[in-house]
Amino acid sequence: MEKYLYIALFAPLVSSLFSALFTATPKKLFTGIVASLLIFTSFIASTILLVHILKGGEPIHVTMMTWMATGDLYIPFGFVVDQISVTMMMVVTLVSTVVHVYSIGYMDHDKGFNRFFSWLSAFVFSMMILVMSDNYAGLFIGWEGVGLCSWGLIGFWFHKESATWAANEAFIMNRIADLGMLIGLFLIYWNTGTLQYDGAFTAFHELPAATLTWIGIFLFIGAMGKSAQFPLHTWLADAMEGPTPVSALIHAATMVTAGVYLVIRSHELYSLIPHVGLFIASLGTFVAIFAASMALVNRDMKRIIAYSTLSQLGYMFAAAGLGAYWVALFHLMAHAGFKALLFLGAGNVMHAMHDELDPFKMGGLKKVMKWTWIMMVIGSLALAGVIPFAGFFSKDTILEAAYSGNHMVIYGVLLFTAGLTAFYSFRLVALIFHGEERYKLFGIHPHEAYRFMLWAMSPLLLIAIGAGVLQTPFFDMVEEALNAHEYHIAHGTALIMLVGTQMFVGLAILYAYKKYANSRVTVPDGTSKMENSFMYKLLINQYYIPYAYEEYFVKPYRELSEVFWTKVDLKIVDATVDGIAAIIYGTGEKTRKMQSGNLSTMLTWMVAGLIGLLLLAVVFGLAARYSDEILVFLSALGV
């Protein structure tokens, strides 16, 4: 089995390196094909491993080699395939296979075709390290690795100022969180003596609650950055500057869920500190509604989906925070499927619309892009949690978990958010595919995507439709590993909840259709009453948070840097050094006139020196002679 582990892990690396060979050359179709095949290989290997685990096989644990070892610290490159990681591996490899194949079509005309596949496969490799590592340091490698690839892929079109800016923003924001994670690692090491999961988890039970709390908080700070939780969320929306497949793979399905994975992976820690868990759940809930609210009014197709991702991540954290780790993981899995589907669908639309992102400028695309429409609708249904699509099962269980844990506020907010989700999802669908063909005003001739791209999306479609059936086998698989248990709510209550939720969601969908799927929708020009309302402005400006960051962090930092350089470094620190030198030199320059060259002066200096010495001698001589008297005198003075 180890063989498959290594194949699953290293096939993406090989793929990346292979594609990297051709980065400097023009587009080579075969790089895309080879890369896709290798990622597919990885997927197959993961599947074999999954089967092994499903059959009840022992988790596979290998230690490849030592990475760092000094003092008491020992960090190997160790990998583990257990129920949790194999789930993640499946998600990662499946979505990436789809995205790779899809990208062959999507990146068809791009100059950086080969480079794209190199980065993309490198990302998969990093992600595999992240999920497969058997220790926190290895996880951190993957953690930073996906950050790097995310940077490279967001800034893939590096000629665009906005793209590179967003890439840097994403990297730096993540770094802020990574510091928290790093501190968490240090705390773990100095308190448990190891960074291996199993060793650390065992030791956690011995640790005082305060320490555990700190560890939990710092690790979660790391998770907040990667999963774009408030207040580190701004980068995710900006990250939509990257190519759409990237958004699908990285900023929807895999990388952003790494934070959730971290919490799930550390469930032994978080289950010991429920108060931190509650905080996580609360923050997650807050982010769920916070992001959903921003999605309501946004006019950028990809950003809307990005906010919905953010919102769904909030759901996951809510679940994980409440101890429903398996639910979180399941939602993660389902979400990966339908959200990637949505993104790729959006990619099709963008392709068709020549990179137009404003759904108000589209409309009526249903006719030209039938398949895309179907997929987007199913994806949206799944997202909205309509029975029997994937989202229903996962999201509903989250609600159940909140309800059964008596966290009524969380439950209520999440429920409300589900309605918002349904609304904005179908607002998008309605704007894009229904109503007038507003795109004609802009002279665009849309066309359906390549057939193979649509085929490539089909596995995701399947997940979006049928992931629900996986719930029970999944539960069985992770039951032991995640300490999972079903949530039992009285049958009647459950039924009321189910129906109520569905009704609520259904109403939201209908409202969205009513409002946006008609011919009166026009391209907003900033004059309508709604656009000038306070709430709209607040939401469209993302609560002014990016603005605040720019004003209160970025600008002061830049100005302070400037001050440090021009004022402190040059004017104080360096000037002090030069000043000392200048004083020495200046003294020489000023006093050199002493050497006037006039013999009389020179002789006078000599005599003056002599007289000075004599004076000193007299003073000292007298002092020595009358030392007793002086002492008496001084003591009389009280010295």
């Binding site: 002493m594 050497q595 020179m602 000599m606 001589g621 007298l622 002679r625």
Partner: protein, 502 residues
């Protein structure tokens, strides 16, 4: 009828006088030769001088053999005193002189060297220095001092330029004042103790417990002023830069070494017992002299535009630095003084010789003075070997290891550290850093600037002859490979200093 005086030759211990007599004889011989046949070439006189200096050297070797076996030797009615200090100082004097005299064999003609009197005076001067260091008797010190000084004034003046005369007059006048101060100081000590021999003065003073401390201090003040003049301690230094500038480069180099070591030895004899008798005043005054001299002269050296004048100030600074050894007064410090001076002799003579071989008869328009910094600009391009060697001497003077002077500094600072002069040690160290700037300035000019227009580099060797090159080669080798010689030198010096009771 006076009783016949019976003195056995053995009790005279003529051996003690031999090293001084040899140069005197040589000088007389040169004069006699000139009487019989004038107009002989300078090479003859150079060789003769070298020969006599070599004989002088061997007689010193002989004397040091005796010293190593029997300890301190007195001779000539106990006037002559051959101890370790005397021998070490004479070694330095003679070796430095031997390195100096071939520098007369320049390519260009400088007329002082065509006079045999120059060489005669030179030899007289050497014997004067030797008398100074090899006696305990203040009268003889005074005589030696004046003999050498008067000869030196004349030698400077013989360079026969306006500036040399000016320098000679200045030096002479101030020297006369210093002589007055010295004799007055000697008079006070004679009045206090009835003796003119340093060890007796010390004994008498110690016996009456420094009863007249006030007068002693006045006496010391006069003596100190006289020595400070000779050692060019601030504010008695004013002659030094002018005289160095006015005299020829090798003469300046010579002056920075030989008269000073002689003065140092006398100062050591004179002040050591005072320092050790806990005269706080002296310690404070010496401390002030040391610190002020090395710091202030460093500052002045920074602002010079002429290399020779810069080296003059740097020599003042070095003298101040070494004066620290007298202040500290331990065996290690006194040994460090000699070690430092030996190494300084090589390096400084080398540096001045480098100036000497680049000496022009007529100054081109872009040059303000004989050895302005501009002259050396871009030297690495036009005369790389010369530039490297000059740079080497500069680095050595700055105290960059492993070149010669570093070891001197190391040992001297160490002696300060060992005897508790912590602050002094740091001041010494920091002064070395300040000094680094002006030595570096020359290196910068040589290595990092472009040559001035019209400078084709020929002048750097304009004055070079085989003899000059040899001397520079010896100095350079001595400077680079000093680290090999440090151990034997140190053992030798320490043994001599220790056995002389210092």
């Amino acid at each position: 009828m006076l009783a016949p005086i019976n003195i056995s030759m053995e009790s005279l211990n003529v051996m003690t006088l031999a090293p001084m007599l040899i140069p005197v004889i040589g000088a007389l011989l040169i004069l006699v030769i000139d009487v019989f046949k004038g107009g002989l070439h300078k090479s003859l006189y150079v060789t003769l001088s070298l020969l006599f200096l070599a004989m002088d050297f061997f007689s010193l070797l002989d004397a040091s053999g005796v010293f190593a076996k029997n300890g301190t030797v007195l001779g000539m009615f106990d006037v002559m005193l051959i101890d370790g200090l005397a021998l070490l100082a004479q070694f330095i004097i003679v070796i430095a002189s031997m390195l100096f005299i071939p520098l007369a064999l320049t390519h260009k003609r400088f007329h002082e060297f065509s006079y045999p009197e120059f060489f005669a005076l030179f030899l007289f001067m050497i014997s004067g220095f030797q008398f100074m260091v090899a006696t305990d008797n203040i009268i003889l010190v005074f005589v030696g001092l004046e003999t050498s000084s008067l000869a030196l004034y004349t030698l400077i003046a013989m360079h026969n330029r306006d500036k040399s005369f000016e320098a000679a007059v200045k030096y002479f006048t101030m020297g006369a004042l210093a002589a007055g101060l010295f004799s007055f100081g000697a008079m006070i000590f004679y009045a206090l103790t009835g003796s003119v021999e340093i060890n007796k003065i010390a004994l008498v003073l110690a016996a009456n417990g420094y009863a007249d401390i006030g007068y002693v201090l006045v006496g010391i003040a006069f003596m100190l002023a006289a020595f400070a003049f000779k050692l060019s301690l601030i504010p008695f230094h004013t002659w030094a830069p002018d005289v160095y500038e006015g005299s020829s480069a090798p003469m300046a180099g010579y002056m920075s070494i030989v008269p000073k070591i002689a003065a140092f030895v006398v100062a050591m004899r004179f002040f050591e017992f005072l320092v050790h008798s806990d005269i706080v005043w002296l310690k404070i005054v010496l401390y002030a002299f040391v610190v002020i001299t090395m710091t202030v002269s460093n500052m002045w050296a920074l602002v010079q535009t002429d290399v020779k004048r810069m080296l003059a100030y740097s020599s003042i600074s070095h003298a101040g630095f070494v004066m620290g050894a007298i202040l500290i007064g331990t065996t290690q410090a006194n040994s460090a003084l000699f070690l430092y001076w030996v190494l300084f002799a090589f390096t400084n003579l080398g540096a001045f010789s480098m100036l000497w071989i680049s000496r022009q008869k007529n100054l081109p328009a872009y040059q303000m003075s004989d050895h302005s910094y501009d002259k050396f600009a871009g030297m690495i391009k036009t005369a790389p070997v010369a530039a490297l060697i000059m740079g080497l001497f500069m680095l050595s003077l700055a105290g960059v290891p492993p070149f010669a002077l570093f070891w001197g500094k190391l040992y001297l600072i160490s002696s300060a550290v060992t005897s508790g002069y912590t602050v002094l040690a740091f001041i010494m160290a920091l002064n070395s850093a300040i000094a680094g700037y002006y030595y570096l300035k020359l290196v910068v000019y040589m290595f990092m600037k472009e040559p001035v227009m019209g400078n084709d580099g020929n002048m750097y060797g304009a004055n070079a002859t085989l003899a000059l090159k040899t001397i520079i080669g010896i100095a350079a080798i001595g400077t680079i490979f000093a680290f090999v010689a440090i151990n034997p030198l140190l053992e030798f010096i320490t043994a001599f200093v220790y056995n002389s009771g210092y």
